[in-house]
């Protein structure tokens, strides 16, 4: 199919049923995105993962009952109600925006923002309120013996680990650390990379040169060794606020400060080309100042690569955090992370206890894959000039 035909078809598809309504860029974007099946699957998978991770503190586990009653997880009526309301509400919003009834990327951003805030608030909880760390509870049987290394079965879908903790609960809670790192790093990288790239691209000469040479310097740092060393030193620093010293926060800020360089280069390139466009000249001729031109006139035109690159950076960040935790330099036990669980699982896997390794690594791999597919889908949908279509 030629590009022309395919874009005509897109227009037709978007126009279906709303013939008198104008077709907006958002409509076209949504249509293209919906055609990218892998990306759609990835989106729903990530929505599911995020949702489960978000709601993790609401899962309760009754102690002193073998295998926690009928299963490892029981929910109170209130918990169930909150979960249903949130699920139905966000599902409805998502449905409406994908039908094109909600206009503008602003809506999508609002949803993402609300979810992120909710998530960050609740993950603050697992770090600052250790009393809800029931993922650390060891499961005893009727005789009070700890059930270690129980293979997966209907009541314990992912079995227990070598000190008797429920692997499913820990995988769910481990997702919180991974996603927290992903979101914080994503936000940090989007902020740093965009600001540095925008300034460098807009002001040629000294500003550009010094910012980009600094970017080169940061990009030149070997990621893992630096993260390990700094991560080791961070908890010793007295001046840091407590939440940065432990858990996922410190790691996230550290990684964010190390991997914004790629985005900065991309944003700078966009700005270099956009600042020469006539509409920028026109804005200047209309009396707009630099700040206004940068943020209101150029930045919205450069938003596509920023979104795509940030999505991909989130995947990288989750992998690096897992690698750090695997090596023992990341989030400290007993807070579960997929990387840490993989390390523990790898230690017991040779004895035949494969489940902890398989389920934690599986969760990690599928999440990062989904994020990368999302990035792919966004890139295809946001770039109208790209002709290769993936189904």
């Amino acid at each position: 199919m030629t590009e022309r035909e395919s874009s005509d078809q897109l227009v037709l598809e978007a126009a279906e049923g709303i013939s008198a309504e104008p077709i907006t860029q958002w409509d076209l974007f949504v249509t293209r995105l919906r055609r990218h099946r892998l990306a759609m699957v990835a989106f729903f998978f990530m929505a599911f993962v995020t949702y489960v991770a978000l709601m993790a503190p609401l899962f309760t586990c009754e102690k002193n009952v073998t295998f926690c009653g009928s299963g490892p997880i029981q929910m109170s009526f209130l918990t169930t109600l909150i979960m249903v309301v949130v699920a139905v509400g966000s599902g409805y919003l998502a449905y409406r925006s994908f039908k094109g009834q909600l206009r503008g990327a602003g809506t999508a951003l609002a949803i993402v923002a609300v979810v992120s805030v909710l998530f960050l608030i609740s993950s603050w909880g697992i770090i600052d309120l250790p009393h809800i760390n029931h993922y650390a509870d060891q499961l005893p049987d009727e005789d009070g013996r700890i059930l270690v290394n129980i293979a997966p079965r209907s009541s314990l879908p992912m079995g227990t680990d070598d000190i008797g903790r429920d692997v499913l609960s820990r995988v769910i809670h481990g997702g919180r650390a991974s996603l927290a790192v992903g979101i914080v790093v994503g936000a940090l990288v989007a902020l740093l990379g965009t600001v540095v790239g925008a300034l460098a691209g807009y002001y040629p000469g000294v500003v550009d040169q010094s910012l980009m040479r600094f970017t080169d310097l940061v990009l030149g740092l070997p990621l893992l060794p630096v993260a390990i060393v700094v991560g080791r030193v961070l908890p010793e620093l007295r001046i840091l606020p407590g939440f940065l010293k432990q858990g996922a926060w410190g790691i996230a800020v550290l990684l964010g400060a190390l991997i914004w360089g790629g985005l900065a280069r991309i944003v700078r390139a966009e700005f270099l080309s956009l600042r020469e466009k006539e509409f920028v000249e026109a804005a200047r001729a209309a009396g707009a100042n630099d700040r206004r031109i940068i943020f209101r006139h150029i930045l919205p035109n450069a938003i596509s690569p920023i979104i795509v690159q940030t999505t991909l950076v989130v995947g990288t960040a989750i992998i690096v955090e897992a690698a750090l935790s695997f090596l023992g330099f990341g989030v400290r036990p007993p807070i579960p992370t997929w990387g840490g669980m993989s390390a523990a699982g790898a230690a017991i896997a040779p004895r035949g206890y494969w489940w902890e390794l398989v389920f934690s690594a599986g969760a990690l791999i599928s999440t990062v894959l989904a994020i990368n597919f999302m990035g792919d889908g966004l890139r295809d949908a946001l770039d109208p000039t790209q002709t290769i279509e993936r189904k």
Binding site: F279, A282, A285, A286, G287, A288, N289, P300, N301
Partner: protein, 336 residues
Amino acid sequence: MPEPLLDVEDLRTYFSTEEGVVKAVDGVSFKVNAGERRGVVGESGCGKSVTAMSIMRLIEPPAGEIVTGTITFDGRDLLKLPEAQMQRVRGGEIAMIFQDPMTALNPVYTIGDQLIETILLHQDVSKSEARDIAIDILGDVHIPHAKNRMEDYPHQFSGGMRQRVMIAMGLSCDPKLLIADEPTTALDVTTQAQIMSLMLELAEQRNTAVLLITHDLGVVAGFCDTIQVMYAGSIVERGSAVEIFNNPQHPYTWGLLGSMTRLDEVHRKRLNSVRGAPPSLINPPKGCRFAPRCDFTKQICVEALPILRQSPEGQRVACHRADELDLKNLEMEPTL
């Protein structure tokens, strides 16, 4: 005699490139009165646009620099104005319309947003008042259903409509001077005529002075009161539209007119053209810059740079031989 609205005195704008300093505008002086419509004509690269950009102070260092000169607008020297005040002048008192309406509007905002933004930048009005002003001005530039079209994005407009929007944006703050940089070059001929008559109508209504930059003599003829012809960074001839068209004094103007198609004349021969190409602006020839391409070159032309002076016919011309040449009655040699 009243103070001119715009008084440009000995403007020199140079660009530094790897090959050397390009003297894009080299000693240009002119005045524009309030309400006057001035045409600036010349071929590509003769400094028309750079003159306009210099007036707006849109020349960006370090690449380009206004080396000398004064630009007095409404009693103030624009070149000495602090940047913050200059931003109030741009768009508020001097507005600019660009060549390509397809790219001069920001693709990610509705035209309503863009109009309102300009109005809010320069006028002390509320957002809803700005909206009303924007709708009014869209109506003034003859955009049908102005109210509904406020919500449309630039890609939903045709080229001519977009240029109307640009004009609306330019005039929304009632500027005293409108600089139109080849406003019709990107449009087809029918649309060109519509846009020019619209600009004429609005400029007359509001008594806005217009600096129309173009290489299309046909556009200038119907629109401008006065015309200045530029060549290689300086003005070679200036006068009223009638003078320039009926009695060109400079061989370059004469050549330009001869190379124009006219509806009121029957052409049996090939159109004429001015031989050669404009000189390099890095090391311009010592004498008259047009001398290498001129059909009437003499020794003095190669040796001395002619200055702009009053000719007996009334207009000002920069040519050593303007007095002796009778270009009006000279038949042009067709160049093949």
